[in-house]
Amino acid sequence: MARMVGTGPARRAMLADGGPALALLALAALLPTVASSEYVLLAASMIVTALTAVSFNLLFGYTGMFSFGQAAFYGLGAYATALLMGEASLSFYLALGGAVLVAVVVAGASGAVLVRMEPVAFVMLTFALSALLEFGAEHTPRLAGGDSGLIASLPEGLNVVLDVNGVYYAMLGVASAVLAGVFVFVRSRAGLILRGIREDALRARTLGVEVERRKLGVFALAAGVAAVGGGLSVLSSQIVYPDVFDWKISANALIVTLLGGVGTFSGPVVGAVALGLIDFYVGRLTTDTLLVEGLVLLAVILLAPRGIVAWLRPGRGWGGVPRRFTSVK
């Protein structure tokens, strides 16, 4: 197998794949110097969305596993972070680390069964998992605050009202580190193997790849990334509520990834910014965001299945050959 970095074309491919995300991160770092807190808060929500979308993309874009339940791990990340800070009096960053661990463990346990299901059952059961966790959060008032939610006890240094920019940079810093890690991962040999599974699982199996073990591994990794998104959302929202498990969060991760570009590193990040802006400006005109997001989703699937990132590359169009979203069996 060829080495991933070093040669000219490979470096070019790497830049093309990571460039848009890098540019957006650089822009994000400058944002507070030019924009009001309204836009900084908008960008903070985009960071959270981007992480859930990256998580979805790891499964769907790279491995071909269609999860419709990333909200499960996003929500676990949010609840575990708030609980570890409140009940165990951990600092935010330690709590975030603990939350990632919780999500990875839950993903490992549930994934042991889920990754063996046929694809359509995987879709439905990941969805059911998030619904079950939502029910659990609603019905554990002592631990999780039930329907009243859980107000996070954040230190003054991370209080978004006192210091919007401080919180924003904390979120951006953590998200950048996670993105860098994911970038290295997807371009490593392990990442290549995942793409091999996506393209032809049977063939990968014949070549000696332990498909289930790999799938379980990426399921846990994606859960960890989603949990970071959930944990960071605690900083900007200051409260955790059962609807962190809502299926709309999973659907949003899907829409964002498609919009940006499935199976590309920068796609989810670009998509998160794009949908964030669409929702923000359209939200001023109508509260019927369902209709708008439905139209965006439909337009992307039908007209630009390769997403925005493909359009940024010369020589490619919005459309062209319709992208297959399902692997060859």
Binding site: S148, S237, I239, Y241
Partner: protein, 402 residues
């Protein structure tokens, strides 16, 4: 740098410049000192749950708030300041509500907030506004913990909390000592748990037994199993905290099974809900704490009638009207727009509301609103919609502990 990567970075950079220049033009207005400049507008941020689980009454809340603002401005504003209402959708979820409130306060220079139909939103926004923002927040929610932090808070409640509601229900059941076996059907939501807890506590020592306790799924479509189960226990009375849409489901499925004929049913029955039912549960004992225009004969109740009869009577519009009134009267009483002075002026004061002149308790900023109780009659008895007749107003002051 490769051709393709270079192109993508250039495109992003171009987009960045365009975006940055757009954003730079939308700078914040700055918050300034606590007291508004003379002639400045008093901005009131209104959290309406336009989408989400309690969206059903959201338009009515907004209409009530708009009416109150319009009326105040027609009378010259407050202390010479005109009022401006900024409506935002909190989606009945705390994360969105907090984001909207924070945006209004940080970027919009808002010092007065009102609204939301969700206790969870109220609770998280109250946390946000108490410290360090010092923003007055008038809202009508049931969760007593929103107001439990004591007289220092900046939030004011315009409806009785779950605690008051539960105590009042217990007082009603206790007034019927012949009912020995009581079944409780509660909303499976924090509201239902809180009312139930207060009810059960207030029932202690009554000599009446609570024989069953069920939490009906919020938004559930089939309550038949629960109704069957409760009726099989043969209770003398059933107390229900099932609300809004779920009341409709309970009534529709309970009628054929005898929930309203085989036992003495008593429960929350808001006008906005029973009016929407083609077959209201006639003869049932219900109560509501929402200020429906037909219940009260006050100047403000008459003003509500500027809205359509259904909206005026729904109760939500009246509640929002009260919230805006609380802010307006607070500023007038304080003779200042400084939120801290307004808070101190309101605590312990008597304010004019749709329900009449009512005291605001100093200890927890709850307005001691009355609860309306009565037997449900169908449309045609003097009013064009289902209502209570005879109607009884309960003074809730006796249920407060401060």
């Amino acid at each position: 740098m490769g051709r393709s990567a270079g192109a993508s970075v250039t495109a992003i950079a171009l987009a960045a410049i365009v975006l940055a220049s757009t954003l730079a033009g939308c700078g914040s207005s700055g918050s300034g000192s606590a007291q508004l400049a003379p002639g400045a507008t008093v901005k009131i941020g209104y959290l309406a749950s336009l989408t989400g689980f309690c969206s059903t009454f959201s338009q009515e809340y907004v209409k009530g708030a708009e009416l109150a603002v319009r009326r105040a401005n027609e009378q010259g504003g407050v202390l010479g300041h005109k009022l401006q209402l900024i409506v935002r959708d909190d989606k009945a979820t705390p994360t969105v509500g907090v984001a909207q409130a924070r945006d209004l306060v940080l970027s919009g220079g808002v010092k007065y907030l009102a609204g939301t139909c969700s206790s969870a939103v109220g609770k998280s926004v109250e946390q946000l506004v108490a410290n360090p923002s010092h923003v007055i927040y008038a809202l009508g929610v049931s969760d007593p913990t929103v107001f439990s932090a004591g007289p220092e808070i900046y939030a004011f409640n315009t409806i009785p909390t779950a605690q008051i509601e539960g105590r009042n229900a217990a007082a009603y059941i206790r007034a019927h000592p012949q009912w020995k076996r009581i079944a409780v059907m509660s909303e499976d939501y924090s509201y239902g748990y809180q009312v139930t807890a207060a009810f059960r506590q207030a029932m202690r020592g009554s000599g009446q037994t609570i024989i069953s306790q069920d939490y009906l799924p919020s938004g559930g479509t089939d309550y038949t199993p629960y109704i069957d189960k409760v009726l099989a226990e043969r209770p003398d009375a059933v107390y229900s905290t099932v609300i809004t849409e779920d009341t409709v489901t309970l009534v529709k499925q309970g009628l054929p099974l005898g929930l309203f004929s085989k036992t003495n049913f008593f429960g929350i029955m808001d006008y906005g809900t029973i009016d929407a039912m083609p077959q209201p549960p006639v003869g049932v004992q219900g109560y509501t704490f929402y200020p429906s225009s037909s219940i009260y004969h006050t100047p403000f109740a008459r003003e509500l009638e500027a809205l359509s009869p259904a909206v005026a009577n729904g109760g939500a519009a009246g509640d929002a009207f009260n919230q805006i009134q609380l802010i307006v009267q607070g500023i007038e009483k304080a003779r200042s727009t400084d939120p801290t002075k307004v808070r101190d002026a309101l605590a312990g004061a008597t304010v004019q509301t749709v329900q009449g002149n009512v005291e605001i308790h100093r200890c927890n900023h709850e307005v001691a609103m009355p609860i309306a109780m009565g037997t449900i009659v169908g449309p045609g008895h003097a009013l064009a919609f289902a209502h209570f007749n005879p109607l009884r107003l309960v003074d809730t002051n006796k249920y407060f502990e401060c």
